[in-house]
């Protein structure tokens, strides 16, 4: 949607929040099924797993784990970016924002995972074109009769 409505002066900003000092984590529900195959009662595939430990942490509540984010500071930053002031000065075109050290780390992990995927499969990925498009030089053999590809070419990577 961001790209569709940007030409009309409408901006869609997504904020990737880490963990903050609100009561959201105190209200994380637990799935009714519990751990599959009786994990809760001992045994079961998930016994001792990270999944079980995360569920235990949410069940015990936020008092049991430290939360580093100050949601008041985060709101100030979001406000600034939404109105283009302070931390948002000159950033009125940004459509993605990350807040919280843990969220920064998450974004970096995703980037690393993508880099890994490209490193492992980049070669295979580039060699599954239809015969008429396959060529050792990787040249773009698309023609003006390929409307979808022409549309994609008009889309810059990061612009809004």
């Amino acid at each position: 949607m961001a790209r569709e409505v940007a030409p009309f002066g409408v901006r869609v900003l997504t904020v990737y929040l880490g963990s903050f000092d609100t009561d959201m984590s105190a209200h994380v529900g637990q799935a009714a099924a519990g751990l599959p195959d009786g994990g809760d009662a001992g045994g079961g595939d998930y016994a001792g797993s990270l999944l079980e430990r995360y569920l235990g942490v949410f069940a015990a509540g936020p008092g049991t784990f430290p939360v580093h984010g100050d949601h008041r500071k985060a709101v100030r930053a979001i406000y600034d970016v939404a109105v283009g002031e302070g931390a948002g000065a000159g950033r009125g075109g940004e459509i993605q924002m990350v807040l919280g050290r843990d969220s920064v780390r998450r974004a970096e992990e995703v980037r690393e995972r993508l880099d890994h995927m490209l490193g492992v499969f980049g070669g295979v990925a580039a060699n599954v074109d239809r015969d008429e498009y396959a060529g050792g030089d990787g040249a773009d053999k698309t023609t003006s009769a390929d409307p979808l590809t022409q549309l994609v070419k008009q889309t810059p990577a990061h612009a809004t």
């Binding site: 002066g9 904020v15 990737y16 985060a74």
Partner: protein, 209 residues
């Protein structure tokens, strides 16, 4: 409370969901302190009368308002709220989708009801509000939508796959690279896989976590 910053922009009208606590409440407080008009909303304002009084007590009278809004309700209530604002000569300049919640569990074992409930608020609710507000913003050639997502929307840790998927779905709906096609989490994406040829997608499907 927040430090008021003198607005260098003209006063804007903010519509914020999930104002009974957390980010929604603080956004309402901060925007009011900065001199803007705020329509704070929550499912049941009667549960937080002190907050309603606080927001509606901002001067001059009417600058802060509180309305009941359940994002899981039909679009009609949202359109009615916006129509009412416009009939008063006002409009929503900034929409903040803050209402949301998480249910933790094994990714392989959520019930249909649990999946629907999380998606109903986190995805459908936020999308419905965008659908109500964005056409009006577009016609005015101005507006901002702020969607509060999560690191889980980028990639979720164990137990938060459902929550992450619901956030990721909304993030994808406005994903910048490529055409803005819908990409709900698999397996519903099969219908859209043809359209996603050119869509680079960085979000983790729920069961790769």
């Amino acid at each position: 409370m927040t430090t008021a910053s003198p607005p260098t922009t003209k006063p804007l009208t903010w519509l914020i969901t999930g104002c009974s606590s957390g980010f929604g409440l603080q956004m309402a407080r901060h925007a009011l302190a900065a001199g803007h008009r705020v329509i704070a909303t929550s499912r049941d304002p009667s549960r937080t009368p002190e907050l309603v009084s606080e927001i509606e007590g901002a001067s001059p009278a009417g600058r802060g308002r509180w309305a009941a809004l359940d994002v899981t309700a039909s679009s009609e209530a949202m359109d009615a709220l916006l129509d009412k604002l416009e009939s008063e000569g006002s409009q929503v300049d900034v929409l903040v989708n803050s209402a949301g919640f998480a249910t933790a569990g094994a990714a392989e074992a959520f019930s249909d009801a649990e999946v629907r409930a999380v998606f109903e608020t986190n995805f459908f609710g936020a999308y419905r509000l965008m659908r109500a507000c964005v056409p009006r913003m577009r016609r005015r050639r101005a507006g901002v939508v702020v969607n509060l997502s999560s690191g889980s929307g980028l990639e979720s840790r164990e137990s938060l796959g459902l929550y992450g998927a619901s956030k990721s779905a909304l993030d994808s709906e406005r994903e910048p690279p490529g055409p803005a096609f819908f990409l709900p989490f698999p397996p519903v994406s099969s219908l859209f896989s043809l359209l996603s040829l050119t869509h680079t997608h960085t979000h983790t499907p729920v069961w790769t976590e």
